[in-house]
Subunit: 423 residues, 2 copies
């Protein structure tokens, strides 16, 4: 080794700091007061220079969808997933004078879908974006009519992922308007109106394999397939929708890398999305594409079994633990989804969704978020998904520390349900 050895030493030294197993040191981490070395960044509920101090009274964070449950997989696959980025790596705007997309990464993505069997990619276009976040927005722009005096209506079934609505409202484009639930919309007489339906399958927050409600010549459908991986759901069929959105975040757990993609049938829609990516950010960072390439190469080892076995087993264990607690409760209930046949594992499987969609059953518990907050659990309130506040989403994909504390708090809450206190 010559020029790479300094960087390798630096990375290995950083990785060797354990932070008591409740935190991590990063190369670009906060440094201490003497401005020398990066310090431990502790998981929530842990503190101290080595993250060994447990904050007993802290609040269990079950809010965001940070997919840290996959972090142990990557520490266990350190050698195959590391990547050395040279100072001169891909400085250009384009790949070999030809667009913003790594063809080798595209090839790996097609291979991955073939191995998992969750989506048809033959004769389909693939476009990259900065997470599904940017891809979803590109889809909304690309599917809106070019010359229309009235904007396209964007709809999503309640409960829905809030971003669809937030983006449409924020960008405030003359091209589209958010119009809520398609069920209401379907009863409107204005059937000639141009409509884009976002279908999240499995759904965020409740994990159901939603299907489109609307159809017709002026209806376009975007399938958000972020969670359509064996970790969270039986793979019931090879999806073959016109426009399917995926993200690295919920596949490998690399939310921070901001990498997502769409599989697109129609060339015109693909071309429009390409223009979107150009005008918005000139494509996805080449550094990110290199990293995604290395991660997916590792994920594909052994026909994907290592990654998906680890991820499925973790999610199954978490779901069972949570369900068994809630099953003891009359105050709270969980979504129920019947098992289905999974073509990836070739057997009937239970769902192990990314989120628990908890309902407060007591008449007086109208604000379920507040009920949980009193028990030192932070979820995400139902209204963030266009639903009643009698519902709360609890994230099950966060770090093991976050999940353990959530279970601890839930156990206590359910045990105390009938006035009894745990000693």
């Amino acid at each position: 080794m010559s020029w790479s050895s300094g960087a390798a030493e630096e990375a290995e030294a950083i990785a060797a700091v354990s932070c008591s197993g409740h935190g991590r040191v990063y190369l670009d981490g906060m440094v201490d007061d003497e401005n020398t070395e990066p310090v431990c960044e502790c998981n929530s509920c842990y503190s101290g220079p080595d993250c060994s101090h447990f904050l007993t009274d802290c609040i269990a964070d079950a809010n965001g969808g940070d997919p840290l449950f996959l972090e142990p997989f990557w520490t266990q696959h350190a050698a195959s997933s590391a990547v050395v980025v040279a100072g001169w790596h891909r400085m250009s705007y384009s790949y070999n004078n030809n667009g913003f997309i790594s063809k080798e990464l595209e090839r790996l993505i097609r291979k991955l879908h073939a191995v998992v069997g969750n989506a048809v990619t033959q004769n389909r276009y693939i476009i990259f974006g900065a997470g599904s976040t940017q891809v979803i927005n590109a889809a909304a722009y690309a599917l809106s009519p070019d010359n229309s005096s009235s904007p396209a209506g964007i709809v999503a079934s309640v409960p829905y992922y809030a971003l669809y609505q937030q983006q449409e409202e924020y960008f405030n484009s003359a091209k589209f308007k958010f119009q809520g639930d398609p069920y209401t919309w379907r009863n409107k007489t204005d059937s000639g109106a141009y409509t884009i339906e976002f279908v999240t399958a499995p759904n965020n927050p409740d994990g159901r394999l939603n299907k489109a409600l609307l159809q017709g010549p002026n209806v376009k459908t975007v399938y958000d397939r972020a969670y359509y991986w064996p970790h969270f759901t039986p793979i019931t069929a090879q999806a073959d929708e016109d426009l399917m959105v995926f993200t690295l975040s919920k596949l490998t757990g690399h939310a921070g890398s901001r990498f997502g993609w769409a599989v697109v049938k129609d060339e015109t829609v693909f071309n429009k999305m390409t223009i979107h990516m150009q005008i918005n950010s000139m494509g996805v960072s080449r550094d990110t594409q290199l990293r995604a390439f290395k991660l997916l190469k590792t994920a594909l080892k052994g026909e994907g079994r290592e990654l998906f076995d680890f991820a499925s087993q973790t999610m199954k264990a978490r779901w069972e633990k949570l369900s068994s607690i809630i099953s003891l409760s009359k105050r709270f209930s969980l979504q129920k989804i019947n098992p289905e046949y999974c073509i990836f594992y070739s057997k009937v499987r239970e769902f192990s969704p990314a989120y628990a969609w908890v309902k407060c059953e007591r008449e007086e518990d109208k604000d379920c978020y507040a009920v949980l907050q009193v028990a030192k659990i932070t979820g995400r309130a139902g209204n963030a998904f266009g639903a009643e506040d009698r519902y709360v989403r609890l994230s099950l994909i966060r770090s093991q520390d976050d999940f353990d504390i959530l279970i601890q708090r839930l156990n206590k809450l359910v045990s105390e349900e009938n006035g009894a206190k745990i000693i």
Copy 2:
């Protein structure tokens, strides 16, 4: 070394392939038919498996602003600029539960501005985006009025960078409309209208240190400072505008990394831009931020002298070569900018702009782009900058190969100006 050695070996093996000095192999490069190893990706005008074959008749590419002139600096600083990214590096959406921005990278950026003396950052906010592309769009949204029945007008002096107009037209927001040159706009009587002026200084395409034309209570100004580095211009003063936009692309040459930032005075504007980055892409890839961190650390060595000396000398040599050819011509002319005092180099210096803004002087040469195209030179036509097609922009920041071929073609064109042919 343990887990990092495989990645290090792989990277060094790739880097050792020379591609005859006219191309490069990348880790995620196209592989050959046997699907084994990445192959050489050749510079334009070169081909063959090792890029040794010169395509004599090829067209000199002086169109895009690919800043490959800086690539040799990074190959010369291989050891300090390499970075090893571990598989588990920053998988989370946020930095230590606190936003989308690496505080250590922010600290480096402030230090860099202090060392160069090109911008005030004390008591200013810094926001990151996917290149200045995304930052510029965030600024347009953030500076538009929240509740206005009429959209903000966006203006930029001719000749201007086309992206301002493209973005406004593409996003088609109710919040703003592109309205062309502020000079025209200033004469309008509707002085109460809300206006955002984009000022590019140094200007793209002509390198001038533009100043804002409009002022008033309803005028907001965005200074695009992408080119305000010692490579391209004397640093005449520490810029202290309300909103200044910078990009890694024109500083270190890493266009492909998609990293830009803004220095912002007003907290409300900063908060709005933060929301933009969240809704658009949930911040900049953490992989990119890590790489930018490593690159800027290298750039700051020796108080920035190594990078800026290399870059300034390269640009100076290129500008002098180009000017000396055009000075022999009556058919073509170049922009002229008077030297100014540079506070970074503590002396009066000539400009060495990123682009030549070439004018075709002959009455009949109304389409200067076509004139150059006949001579096998591709520039960018004046109309792309809102200017006459009597002008063409020629990029001087591309690879040495591209520049050498451009000079060859220009030499021939100017030599033949009076009918004489070179033998």
